[in-house]
Symmetry: none
Subunit: 209 residues, 4 copies
Amino acid sequence: MPKQTFLNLPLERRNRILETAIDEFSQNSFASASISKIAAKADVAKGSMYQYFENKKDLYKYILEISAQKKQEYLIDCLHSLEHLYFIDVIKELYIKGLEFASDNPKLAGIANNFLKENDMKFKKEIMGISIEKSNQFFEILIEKAKEKGEINPKIDTRVGAYIITSLNTSVIDYLLSYMQYEELLQSKDELMDNVGKILFIIENGFKK
Amino acid sequence: MPKQTFLNLPLERRNRILETAIDEFSQNSFASASISKIAAKADVAKGSMYQYFENKKDLYKYILEISAQKKQEYLIDCLHSLEHLYFIDVIKELYIKGLEFASDNPKLAGIANNFLKENDMKFKKEIMGISIEKSNQFFEILIEKAKEKGEINPKIDTRVGAYIITSLNTSVIDYLLSYMQYEELLQSKDELMDNVGKILFIIENGFKK
Amino acid sequence: MPKQTFLNLPLERRNRILETAIDEFSQNSFASASISKIAAKADVAKGSMYQYFENKKDLYKYILEISAQKKQEYLIDCLHSLEHLYFIDVIKELYIKGLEFASDNPKLAGIANNFLKENDMKFKKEIMGISIEKSNQFFEILIEKAKEKGEINPKIDTRVGAYIITSLNTSVIDYLLSYMQYEELLQSKDELMDNVGKILFIIENGFKK
Amino acid sequence: MPKQTFLNLPLERRNRILETAIDEFSQNSFASASISKIAAKADVAKGSMYQYFENKKDLYKYILEISAQKKQEYLIDCLHSLEHLYFIDVIKELYIKGLEFASDNPKLAGIANNFLKENDMKFKKEIMGISIEKSNQFFEILIEKAKEKGEINPKIDTRVGAYIITSLNTSVIDYLLSYMQYEELLQSKDELMDNVGKILFIIENGFKK
DNA sequence: GATGAATGAGCCTTCATTCAT
DNA sequence: CATGAATGAAGGCTCATTCAT
């Protein structure tokens, strides 16, 4: 929720600021990210930053929201085709889209993952509102339905299953990001997808009857 | 690697410093942890801290090492009985011992997990030396052997399997720690172990023939 | 002395600005009052404030003047009946009217009292012009006349007497204002007037033959 | 309550800091006094100020306490001879000693008076603890005793009487201070005492039977 | 005439680290 | 060996004021 001031800014300037901020937050935790540095790098007066955003947290929330929206855009298609697909294929699709998002927008993905790593639960809840558990809930519903359809082992605990899927999703993205940062080891997209396939193979077996 | 000065210290003083440092690093990322605060809380001259340790990083490394050693102590037993157990039982044992360690030493476990979350790869490598991948390697060997013995599905990719096991292990511990911090929801030990069982049930299925 | 621009403003807008400014100056010293906050609260562009007023001081002077005028309105009646009343009754009337003013317009009264408390004499003189001493002069004349009429002790020093009356007047209003702010202890109007009566009883004795 | 660090400082440095701080707080309200300026003027690193004092408020409290103690020293004698003197003579003595204190230590006296003028009651209470009302209580006791001894008019309301005496005391000191700041008009000590005499003359009459 | 964007100085505070004693 | 004093850079944030549109 930036101030109107920010939204009225000429596009060029607005983007310069946003990108610099995204840079900063993708490399630092909230606490060690610095508005001063962002202002300096974006060549903007420090005071201006506070004309645009209420405070550091405000800017952070905004960036986080951008990240979430962008990710949504990647996921939206496969969310639409939920009904027609097998459980494991939905998961597969979601993992892949998630990785594509991360691969195309490593900084935004990094910010989201960084947020997930924050320690201070009060801070997280404050920023996230209720949506923290949405992701888990989504997977829980998915699992329930798959159980009904007889696609997966009914003995699987729903909550625990959702938890595993979420955790691995985050891990995989983290893995991708850290390798992207270290160009040395950057795997080809094919290799990466190959690995996702291997992970999903295990998951599939883990869940199936 | 504290300086000799630190090792010569009377035990009481040494412990006071260590515990305060553990407190601080368990609640903060490396960047936002503060030597000033540690010195103040431990009632030690700030200057002294620099007589004991080269700098903040040095102290951090030491604390991290303590954490690793302590965890070793929990794992050591089941590492000895590796040969006699089925693959899945080893994993189970390791998860449980890991959780016991975290439950008994939440601060130390938190520090380790915090470290895993650090972004700066250069920093991580510098601190860790090579040992980052040791954990993965260990699981890789385990998986290879299990394959040989015919205990698990040979189609499983060894590296990916190890990766999954490590990731979930970290996630589970993180989960425990955040719930311990937030007493409200603290599950009983039984419930927790129950959940571990459920996770392992999925893993077991995921890996088995 | 606002700029013509301000005077041309639609009444509603003008009042909104004034009231917000009065709010701000009644709660802060000149130095810590903030034009930024006033603009924000009054929902006016910061730039506009500088089209209406030369600067912070200019606005302050204007507000102060408004306060003075408003107070005049309360006092005007009893200033007209000066001649017919005994000295002590004039004083009494002035105190009471002053308190009524403060009770009805606590913010305006607060601003005036805050001004009196400012430290920087140069600043005060600059703002006030000569009128600082007017109040004292007025009481001096009153005292002189009362002496002539034989109503009060001629041994009383005129300047000192005026000074006492002014001081106590300010104190009493301050007292009222701070109690109004702190609702807890707010005395009823009756109690307050009762206390004024008690103060005047002492003053009366102090001045009489 | 400065930190030990401050108390251990070489006298010269300690005094330089204190005097600069006294300067600053005597010319500014708490809000507009600046630690940065104090540090700069005292030729001390800004950071050092925070080695000496917890924060701005801490420094302020300390300075205020110094002021109170110094004033005590002036009053102590006449507080000892309370019993032997007539009510009016006690008051007289207290006013005179108070003025002497202000005349000898105008800055310290200014700080105390500035504090009395602060608007924020919460702030005042926090700083003062309970002692705010002590001064009034003291005069109330004095008045009660004087009534018992038949020295003053029993019809005088005790609380109101105490209030008047306190108010005038503050006013008188303020008066002295502002004139000392403005050397132009500085009255001779004799003249000043003469005026005190005149004030007390009125007070005496106000209180006597 | 209204606006809002820009700015830089300034504020309080924290910190890692150094160094003389 | 312990200490504590010193420091300057940095951080988040606020403000009065200017100026182009």
